[in-house]
């Protein structure tokens, strides 16, 4: 059976390391030619904001990692349509996002759902 990996990021960036380590796992699986996608939900949708300025808290921006994600083989960046609507114009226009109706329907399309 070929595996399909969905990595769920449900916490805001910068407050802890779990999102970065989730992204590392996703990039690693993609580097080994696996089918990989990311889902941003809950507080995790704040990863998708444009104009992030984390320098003042001495962190690196996560936007750059996300815009490079598809270059490194991650197939899609998913977010539910309702959560995308809530973000409105705050969303980073440089990100190619795929909107879905519900997270549950999306998760059912993957063999491995990883939520750290």
């Amino acid at each position: 059976m070929s595996r399909r990996y969905l990595f769920v990021i449900d916490r805001a960036p910068y407050g802890d390391w779990s999102g970065r380590e989730t992204l590392d796992m996703a990039l690693s699986a993609a580097a080994f030619d696996q089918s990989v996608a990311l889902l941003f939900t809950g507080q995790g949708v704040h990863w998708l904001r444009g104009d992030q300025q984390p320098k003042r808290i001495e962190q690196k921006t996560v936007s750059r990692n996300l815009s490079a994600a598809t270059i490194f083989g991650i197939e899609a960046l998913y977010v539910t349509q309702a959560e995308l609507d809530q973000l409105g114009s705050a969303v980073d226009p440089g990100l190619a996002l795929s909107a879905v109706d519900t997270a549950r329907d999306l998760e059912n399309q993957f063999t491995d759902v990883v939520r750290l």
Binding site: R3, R11, S18, E21, D24, S28, A29, F32, D112, L116
Partner: protein, 139 residues
Amino acid sequence: MIAEDAARFTLVITGAPYASQAPQTALHFARAAISGGHTIAQVFLYGDGVHLASNLTSPPSDETDWPAEWRAFLNEHQIPATCCIASALRRGLLDDSEARRYEKPASNVSAPYQVAGLGDWLAATQDSTRTLYFNGGQS
């Protein structure tokens, strides 16, 4: 006892001992799985879970030494265990060779743990019927 549908599990632990319940829950699961005739293919420590690999933990004598319990369990059942190198280096969990490479004065990770990369995790997920993640509390 051999289960009719024996499973091969990979366990990923991302919560640290003494900060979360993740290592205990994972150990209880692993013991139950083995006594039920299932197999633990691989244990992978990731994120804060790498603290479980420290061989310097010294809890008070009336508390369980969870890293020691885990080491004994892994040795008894000959289960391969990997401590993620990227997570470990950031958090000061080093084996002898990494301590030499980074010119550090001490090391605190040794067998049964290998210090290696996410490739071990990926290979284990593909070699298992199911991969379970034991996380710490939401921060």
